[in-house]
Subunit: 285 residues, 2 copies
């Protein structure tokens, strides 16, 4: 496994892999790897002959009052996990490597970057789009893997790649959950045992919405309101949004579609969590 910190080393590794005619897969991460990330790496391994993982806590996607400084960093464990999973290349750049002095170019995906997570975290998706494009340009993968847990992020990355004609295929892999339903997230490690229990309200809210819609509830606004009520009834849970949306556009729905996504963002104590669930109705009657 090559561990590269410099752009020139990555470029060389990519050129060598391309030269051997290998298919290239890329899994961009911010480290603090958990089973969710590992499922992306496994998916990449199955489809690609050469798998690159990037580990970079990207400052431009954090707001000034967000948790960039305290975002979990577990580099040694991450590298061991990558090695064990058969990763070929880990790209581990310094902040100054990707954002040198006078860096000034940003990618904006209009509308999609303004709503839901974008409304709660101004500038977040500009940072995401910019770093993902940079990493795709550096690693030039045939396939790139993102988790469905960050639903809006994978939609934004798909939209950016389509709009800018980036020659890559985006794969979205299922959310990985704990046995009790908690969606895996690097930020879960900040939850105290008590908060960990309260955090279950998020997945419960999603399941309630799914059940209600599958049972024929057609008032989608009421379903979203019920999710919010469930969350707000849990002490120390503060809701950012709770909604049922079109999974292509993230427009909030008032009437059901055959395919929907329920999305929730809430603070549990001081830890902000986001989760979602796809909802398919058998028929849209």
């Amino acid at each position: 496994m090559i561990v590269a910190e410099q752009v020139s080393d990555v470029r060389r590794a990519v050129r060598d892999a391309r030269h051997e005619g290998l298919s290239l897969g890329c899994v961009p991460t911010m480290g603090a790897l958990h089973a969710g990330h590992m499922s992306l790496i496994d998916a990449a391994r199955r489809e690609c002959r050469h798998v690159a993982v990037t580990i970079f806590v990207n400052p431009t996607q954090f707001g000034p009052n967000e948790d960039f400084a305290k975002y979990p960093r577990t580099l040694e464990t991450d590298l061991a996990l990558c090695r064990e999973a058969g990763v070929d290349l880990v790209f581990l750049p310094a902040v100054e490597t990707l954002y040198p002095r006078l860096f000034a170019t940003f990618v904006e995906v209009e509308r999609l970057s303004q709503i839901l997570e974008g409304a709660c975290r101004p500038g977040h998706f500009r940072g995401v789009a910019t770093i993902v494009l940079k990493l795709l340009n550096l690693l030039q993968p045939d396939l790139a893997y993102f988790g469905r847990k960050d639903f809006q992020q994978q939609l934004l990355v798909r939209k950016m790649c389509r709009d800018l004609d980036v020659p890559v295929e985006i794969r979205t892999c299922p959310t990985i959950r704990e046995p009790d339903g908690l969606a895996l997230s690097s930020r879960n490690r900040f939850l105290s045992p008590v908060d960990r229990q309260k955090a279950l309200a998020l997945s419960q809210a999603l399941r309630m919405a799914e059940r209600s819609l599958k049972e024929g509830q057609r008032d989608v606004v009421a379903v979203a309101a019920a999710m919010r009520r469930h969350l707000e009834s849990t002490p120390e849970v503060t809701v950012d949004y709770a909604t049922v949306a079109n999974p292509e556009t993230l427009e909030e729905l008032t009437a059901p579609l055959a395919e929907m996504v329920a999305l929730v963002a809430a603070r549990v104590g001081s830890t902000r969590l986001i989760v979602n669930i796809p909802i398919q109705l058998e028929s849209n009657s």
Copy 2:
């Protein structure tokens, strides 16, 4: 010569060329080809085994009151010139091909896109950066060729490619001029014979600045003011800017540097022209 209108045809042509191990050169143009463009194509031919020319009048770089509709379109002549010059691939997309419904992603190069041309044409460089990145992603060239005549544009493209790690090398080729000094531009064909004569004031102003600085004038603000006075003394010439700047940052200078660029933008009758000249001092004493 392949003439491709569809993205899929371009992707196939690029893949085939790459497969044969050819070095790829790309010359993005808005058509209405003249000897300036042909010099870019010749430069590409000298360095690359496969040369692609794109012909696309890009709507996103024109303001609402600008000349998108009346920008010259001379497709048959352009194709004949490309064929004669040994171009391998011409990409000729429709507007809807590159900007489908719901297109929403744009590239912003901060600061550089706000000054000089950017100040005169709000949104212009956002459109330029976005279309150039799209074309580079579609054509995946090793080298891309731009004219020095559009000095700020080539600087912006370089900055964007560096910031976003686009795997391409940018070449900037010299301005081509008529024997009397007029810099070639597709918009020159809009000049009446009388305006054509008045347009010489632009290259004269640049030469004056060059001479003055080479003769030791150290008051760069006075040099810029003299350029402006010369232009304003010509009837029906309206100055947008006349300045001497740092050729890396386009910051306006007050004291000379070893390397400078003098830039002028002016309307001659109803035709807006931009020109520039590099100025090197033997020593910076």
